[in-house]
Every structure is written in C-alpha cells, then in structure tokens.
C-alpha cells in the first residue's frame, strides 16, 4: 500500500498527463464522427451567436461579389422563363402529364460559419429543421457543388464540405458519361481528385465533371468543375485533378436541395442489398 502511494506521489504528474491526454484522444477518435457528438451540438448553440456576428461583417464586405452573382443568376432565370412563356403561348400543345412531377425542392440559406483550411471542413447554415432542412440534403452554391447536410437543429444545420477527407461523391464526365468517385485529398481547396475512370476513356483538359445523382442526394448534372490535369496510376484507372467551380473561401449564400423521392428510392434499393 505504502509503495503504491509512493509510486502515485512520484509519478502524479505523469498520471494526470496520461489521464487528460487519454480523455482528449478519446474525444478525437469518437467525437470527430460528427453526428455522434451530442455535446458539441448543444455547445454550438452558444458559439453560434459569435459566429453570426463575424459572418454578417463578412457578408457586408462581399456584397459586390454577391450582387454580380445574383444578377448573373437572374439573367439565366429570365432566359429560362422566356422559353417557358413561349411554349405556353403556342395555341396547340399536348399535355402529357397531369400530376406534378416535382422531384427536388430548393431553398436558399446563408453560411454563418465556414472553414477551408482544415483537413475535415464543415460549414454551418442559418436554416434548420423548422425551415425544412434535413440530414442528407444536398448543398450547392450558385456555381457548383458545395457539400451535404450532416446534422440539423431547430434553426441551424451543419454541412460536410466537399473539402473534407471523408467526403465521397459519385460523379461523371459530361462528355462521355463515364462515372467515378470524387474525393478531396486535403491539399488545395481549389482542386479535388476524381478516381475510377478507366484508362481507355478519352479525356481532355477542360472537360466538365458533373454529378450522377446515383446517391439520391444531388440531382443529376450539377456541375462540380473541370478537368485540370490527369495521370495514369497503377493498372487501370486515371487519377484526375478537378478544378472546382465553387470557391470555398468566398461561400456566402448556398442552395439546399432536398430530394422528395429519396426515401422511396432508398427503400427499393434496400430490398436488394
């Protein structure tokens, strides 16, 4: 007993160190899985007030950029509208479908907290369950893919950014339809890596890369970026560097896209897995 006490007295600092470091490492290993970190979620509510103020300043400073983007989008929408009005004003047209076939719902949200300089980046949106934002919805910026919602509270939601080592997305080459898997290698926030495109496919620099919609999260054909360079690695596949169209350092407003038929699709798929 006495020996034990002596031992404890002698190494008490080392013991405290190992204990505290153990707690910390435990938190790192278990808590980084975002959905499981309950403690974090409740604390986020506290820190979100601070983040909101920072982000409102940043939004103000970026107003010019935002305005140009919005006007660009306006022009696009106006063009589309023009086409639709034209088709409606034709005297004869056949109605092929009477039931509304809407599959995706869109809503816009503002980013209140964002990071692009870590290895596992997340961003926080100012809309949550009350506004209809749910887990596994897609997030896009005006130009391209931004991330996927991983958790949502009453009024806020957290999305896993494309700039996250855990992010995987099924994408395809627009020119020939071959699909592969997109991930981020943690190097540069402007580039992501596209794997699993077989080597017999002809690809060029500047080819567009878009989403496939296989995962029932993103709609088909959302643009991700363009091929910047590629190399042949190992046996069969290319390793393609994709220049992302979304600028993650200037992300302010995003669209959240929900798939109304996701549960249906998942259910059907589940019965075969």
């Amino acid at each position: 007993m006495r020996n034990l006490l002596n031992f404890l007295a002698r190494y008490n600092n080392l013991i405290i160190f190992l204990l505290l470091e153990g707690i910390a490492i435990y938190l790192v290993v278990t808590g980084n899985d975002y959905q499981n970190s309950r403690v974090l979620k409740s604390v986020r509510v506290l820190s979100i007030g601070v983040e909101k103020n920072i982000s409102s300043t940043r939004t103000y400073l970026n107003l010019h950029d935002i305005n140009t983007k919005i006007s660009q989008e306006n022009v696009d929408l106006r063009n589309k509208m023009e086409r639709l009005i034209k088709s409606e004003s034709q005297l004869f047209f056949s109605v092929t479908d009477t039931i509304l076939q809407q599959q995706y719902v869109y809503t816009s949200a503002e980013i209140v907290n964002n990071s692009a300089n870590r290895q596992k980046n997340f961003f926080t949106l100012n809309k949550g369950k009350k506004q209809g934002v749910e887990v596994d919805m897609a997030v896009t910026s005006g130009e391209g893919v931004a991330g996927i919602i991983v958790s949502s509270s009453e009024n806020f939601s957290v999305a896993m950014s494309l700039l996250n080592l855990d992010f995987r997305l099924s994408v395809r080459m627009k020119s020939n339809g071959f699909f592969g898997s997109l991930s981020w290698d943690g190097r540069d926030y402007k580039y992501a890596i596209l794997n699993e495109i077989p080597q017999h496919v002809i690809i060029n620099e500047g080819d567009t890369v878009e989403t496939t919609g296989y995962s029932a999260i993103f709609p088909q054909g959302k643009i991700i970026g363009v091929v910047s360079d590629f190399e042949k690695v190992g046996g069969d596949f290319y390793k393609i560097r994709v220049k992302l169209t979304t600028d993650f350092k200037k992300l302010n407003y995003v669209n959240v896209i929900g798939n109304l038929r996701r549960t249906e699709q998942k259910q059907v798929e589940k019965s075969f897995q």
């Binding site: 405290i16 160190f17 470091e21 910390a24 490492i25 435990y26 980084n32 870590r118 540069d188």
Partner: protein, 168 residues
Amino acid sequence: MINSIIRYTIIFIILILLQLLLFNNIQFSGFVNPYVYIMFILLLPVEISPWLLLLISFFTGLTIDFFISTPGLHTAATVLTGFLRPYILRLISPRDGYDPGATPSMEIYGFRWFLFYTVFIVLIHHFSLFFLEVFRFTDFFRTFLRVLFSSLFSVIFILLIEYYRRDR
C-alpha cells in the same frame, strides 16, 4: 495571488477572443493557420505546479475545441504542450536559474531566450495538432510543411503581442 488570477483570466479571454475573431479568419492559401492562443500556456508563471499547468492546458484546449468544433484535437495538443513545458524551461534555463515567482517574459530574460522558448512550445503544439488532425503519416512532408509555416506565423504573432505587452 488574487491579483495574478485576475490578470491571467483577462489574458486568457483576450487571447481566446483574438484567436476566434482574428486569427481563425486568417487563411493564407489554406496552408497556414496560426494558433496564437497557445501563448497563454507560454505566459503562465515559471514555478507553477505541473498538475495545475496540465489542468489549465486541458481547459484552454477544451475552450478552443468548443468554439471551432474540433472535439479533443486542440485539447490533446495543449495537454502535451503543458506536460513538456517544464522540461523545456529546464532545458533553456538561464545561467543563474529562474527567480522565484518569475513569469516567462521577454522583458526579464531577453529577446533571444523568449524566441527559443516560443519556438519550442509552438513547434510541439503545432506538430501534435496538425498530425492529429490528419491522423496518418502518409503525406508526411506536406503536413510537416504546414506545421513549419503555421509555426512561423504563430511565432511572429506571439512575439509581436509580447512586444506590445511589454510596452504597456
């Protein structure tokens, strides 16, 4: 005693706010991000008992973790730093040792000493932090480069803050 507790609380709050509001928003090319809050552990009195130092380091890291939502990451790094700090102080102790009740500052021990001290502590902290973040040793040199660059900026900022603090 009470006085110094109040003083350190103020320093703590200022450094945490600086880190959250200013330095977290500095991102040079996604490669460099200075973590200046570590200066708090740097400034604690030389003769603080190791167990208290460990506890303070733990809570400093925990506070930062809560605000940038990285569970455990900064805590692990600061606890390690707090554990190694006494050894580093012994390693670079001036010839006549430390005065009782002294705090590590540029004013007392000079620029050179403070620079070495800062570089050691910041390197330990950043090294453990960045490698825990990626959690793998592939791309070792890239992560190592991140450590070096971020440390460089952290050290510069800490020296600037210390310089300013001395003038007041």
